[in-house]
Point group: C2
């Protein structure tokens, strides 16, 4: 069923999510702090990807707005922002535009300020997912997809064989809605592991330290975690 | 090639490691803080396993000693203790008994003091593996096997299909010696992922938060991480 979907964040995760959701027939608006600034980004990013302005021109079905406009537009929200900007953007989005909605939260609390590899600016006894949920109790936060490369998020068949995606959240209906979106991306029911309430996001966000080191060891970001069982 | 192996810790991980290494023909001594106390443990543990005294009686080829005696005995060391006791036991083992030796470090910095599920008492910008290595620069610390149930550590075929074990350490020769031990347990060369130096133990120790929650979600500890690649 087509939805109006708000994607927060104009980086690679936001672009990939917006493209995929749009291709599946949803109406998509992508949200940014600074619309003019985003439209001025013509230089390629650090990974050699085209600037946001060029990407946006090439995706005419996707709208662009401020965080507040985008949140107001969407009946389903996706947080694809950098973790260190997530709380501020939701503040800008405005409580009235968030209240009662489901938000798929893909952000990770990566701290690049102390050099590479990044550490986490929240971990162990708290998580970004929980901080977002506490700051916005009326928002139904579901942490998912944050444990893999963006291309794999929306196209799990890029990795052959079984591999998993985790969902964490307090609201069962919200998790069901996120699972439907995951299935529309190609995730099989049996590959989706519901870890429990939003505090279990501590587990998935703390996968990032090994994810980053596996990227280094394997020299390739195209991998995912599979939970092999007896 | 049979070795003299010191296993620190009389809990389930220590018992399973000592049993397996002994069955492979190594001479094994298991180390404890308090030999008399260990031999007085006849009550089953929280998991219903027989007390250490009964286990020890049933494994006549395995010796028992203080940490210092055990470290002096072993040419290859295994830290199978609780993470919160690891630094103290190595202190008791004595620098002269550790110097120049390889130690397979299986301990995790689990903090049970704040209730369940446990958090980590070291994480993010440091790890227990690094703390042990810094405290004993002449010891060759290799973190491995700490990301799975003890039964799987020594019998990877309990989980069908591909799944992985990680090694982290500063010394290439020490990692090779640990890999030989892993292979003797049944780990395939291709299943062993060398993540890099001992700082990469931050990645493997931070798998514990999701490991614990997966145990809850799957209602079974018999699973392991597999890194699925393209």
């Amino acid at each position: 069923m087509p939805m109006k979907i708000a994607v927060f964040g104009t980086g690679v995760v936001g672009q990939v999510m917006a493209e995929k959701l749009s291709s599946l027939g949803h109406e998509v608006m992508i949200g940014t702090r600074d619309v003019k600034g985003a439209l001025a980004k013509t230089a390629p990013d650090n990974f050699g990807r085209p600037g946001f302005a060029d990407w946006y021109k090439a995706h005419t079905a996707i709208r662009l707005g401020t965080y507040a406009e985008t949140a107001a537009f969407g009946s389903f929200l996706v947080n694809a922002s950098s973790g260190n900007g997530s709380l501020a953007l939701l503040e800008q989005a405005g409580e009235a535009n968030l209240s009662g909605k489901v938000m798929l939260d893909i952000a990770n609390p990566l701290d690049f300020s102390k050099g590479m590899p990044p550490s986490l600016f929240i971990c162990n006894t708290d998580s970004l997912g929980e901080q977002i949920q506490r700051a916005h109790p009326s928002l139904k936060v579901v942490k998912s997809l944050n444990t893999m490369n963006a291309q794999i998020m929306v196209n799990p068949s890029l990795i052959p064989g079984d591999h998993n995606v985790f969902v964490c959240g307090n609201d069962a209906d919200a998790k069901s809605r996120v699972k439907e979106v995951l299935k529309s991306f190609g995730w099989k029911e049996k590959s989706i592991i519901d870890l429990g309430d939003i505090s279990t996001a501590r587990g998935t966000e703390q996968l990032l330290p090994i994810w980053i080191r596996l990227w280094g060891a394997l020299k390739n970001p195209m991998f995912n975690f599979h939970i092999a069982t007896a």
